[in-house]
Amino acid sequence: MSKLKEGWKKFLTLNGASMFVAMVVIIILFEIVMQLTKTTSGLVFMTPGNLLGILRQQAYIGIIAFGLTLVMITGNIDLSVGSMLTMLCCVCAKFMMSTDNGFLGFFGTIAIGAVCGLLNGVLVSHVKLNSFITTLGTSSIFTALALKISAGTVLVIPNDCSPFFQFMGTAALGPIHILIIWLVIVAVVLGLLLSRTVFGQQLYSIGSNPVAARFSGIKSKRNICISYVITGACCGLAAAVMMANALSSNPQNASGKEMEIILCVVLGGVSVTGGKGSVWGTIIGVMFYGVLSAGFTQLNLSIYLQWVIMGAIMVAALSMDVLKEKGVRLWKKK
């Protein structure tokens, strides 16, 4: 029993643990409400199919959120991810419409994403511009480029385009959709990069204490720049798989997504001031957000009610994490 208690305590100290508990509670709550309101028999929300579906729906946001985790751990931010995603979707659609070369469409988009990330990285790390303002500025550049590339209209990739390209966004391994596989691959690669490599540890040092990191001989500029390049490449991958799946883009395709992505990262326990967080925590953040969104739609709540409840849950969940960090015990033993 004491071992179980100890294990529970240890679990709660983990990054994003309280969010995980909150997510499980919310999944159960959704199931109860649906059982009470729906006429169908059996489980509705807690089915593996639904949970896998949510994970698949969150793949695009998740892939970018994992990259952004690296940037935010260094104490910086990237507000351009939404418009970068939009622009890269337009680039990918344009590649496919003009060449029908799946290889170019897929990997070319990732490469251009990395270049966009490099632009942000150089400006923030080498030119030493404030990351908030810089990425807000580059966000406008990417929006303008998306508009230019798409000529302000819908870009539709033909249904009979390269099978390789379509495979990358629509294939499935049994019940596991390829989008989930992409999500897992990126999570594992970046998770290991962050937790098991010198580079990863250096990112934490830069975020915790940039001055100390510099005096310790850590190449802060290079590492920050690389974290932005990785985020850009993640945007490229998300754009490529999104296009492979949806076969359509427009210049407002993902506008506003940056807030969702940042929210997922913060919900996962990444500190906005840097130095704290993990990719594993971000996975929880991404899933938590996905569960809420899917649950609200499935319960057929009005958009306004959704916003209110979503906001309240977010504030409550984040407050719990902050209080825990400050050592405040929510429930005192009698």
Binding site: G53, A144, G152, T153
Partner: protein
């Protein structure tokens, strides 16, 4: 290295300014009558304020308006409020202060637009509404409203649905909409809701996918998970979003059992009607609205008057006439 850094910073600052200008700021383009060959608007400066230039259909109204007005010899100034309704008034005032010869507005809040219309009228600037009417108090100040009646359009689509499925068949309807605070979507939903009061249909709350087909698909997947095969109808308020729902229905193997109705008339939606994946799309051509707005401006500037309502045609495309329209959408 420091020098390089400074140069890089300078280059980036300039690039950002240029991008900001092209994205959120104004674009001014003029062409002389000699260059364009047109003469109807020669020497005139026309202001165009849009709620968005990046939404595909709304953006196309703007690009077509600019192109046609330029062809007629006008200088066109465009300001994009980037979905910020409050900015419409600010930008219109800028246009009025700049002394444009006529002002066209696409989108925004009909009540706020009424105030702008009054200000424009007092300044002697004739104002024209594209695709969206102004609120009642402002109509005396607006010279013309061009486009389909958005509310009536969706009322008519609903009537089409009722005719096809019966008013008392208790259909369960999923609604996929765009931006919750944009008035054209509000009016479309209102028109649909007005017709639905005459039925016993179970109309679910609208989902707002903004401009994301992927999000629309996600919404539809979630409805299919929760409601299963009890969904009968999907009403989409924009073809691009509706196509996301069509993809979700297709993947769930429910094509045919869920009937999909939409509007805009974009090419892949027309193809979906031909393929039996959609029942109806209504072609609402952005180019028609743009052209008719320019015509209304020309008529007003040359004669001093024009009709208030300039209705643009709507084409209902279903299985009976779809072959005539394949590939004939604007995008």
């Amino acid at each position: 290295m420091k020098k390089l850094t400074k140069i890089l910073a300078l280059v980036m600052a300039v690039a950002m300014m240029l991008a900001l200008a092209s994205c959120g700021g104004s674009s001014s383009s003029g062409s002389s009558a000699a260059e364009s060959g047109g003469s109807d608007l020669s020497g005139k400066t026309i202001g165009y304020v849009t709620i968005t230039s990046t939404a595909p259909w709304g953006g196309l109204v703007g690009t077509e308006f600019e192109r046609i007005a330029k062809e007629k010899g006008a200088t066109v100034r465009v300001l994009d409020a980037q979905t910020d309704v409050a900015k419409i008034a600010e930008y219109c005032q800028q246009m009025i202060d700049a002394g444009v010869d006529a002002l066209a507005i696409f989108g925004g809040d009909p009540n706020a637009n009424a105030e702008i219309a009054k200000a424009a009228d007092e300044a002697g600037v004739p104002m024209f509404m594209c695709a969206l009417d102004v609120a009642e108090p402002g109509r005396q100040y607006v010279k013309a409203c061009v486009g389909p009646d958005q509310e009536q359009m969706c009322y008519d689509i609903a009537q089409y649905i009722i005719e096809a499925n019966g008013a008392d068949s208790g259909m369960k309807v999923v609604q996929i909409s765009g931006v919750p605070f944009l008035d054209d979507y509000i009016q479309r939903e209102a028109g649909f809701a007005r017709a639905m009061t005459e039925t016993n249909y179970n109309v679910l709350e609208a989902d707002y996918a903004y401009s994301s087909r992927t999000d629309a698909k996600t919404f539809m997947e979630n409805h299919i998970t929760a409601e299963g095969d009890t969904i009968d109808i999907v009403m989409g308020y924009d073809d691009d979003l509706t196509m996301g729902a069509v993809a979700a229905i297709d993947e769930a193997g429910l094509t045919g059992s869920i009937k999909v109705y939409s509007l805009t008339g974009q090419n892949d939606a027309i193809q979906a009607v031909a393929d039996g994946k959609m029942e109806l799309t209504v072609m609402n051509r952005a180019g028609d609205i743009a052209e008719e707005t320019v015509n209304a401006i020309i008529e007003y500037l040359s004669t001093g008057s024009t009709e208030y309502y300039h209705y643009t045609p709507l084409t209902f495309i279903d299985k009976d006439n779809v072959q005539d329209y394949i590939g004939k959408g604007e995008f």
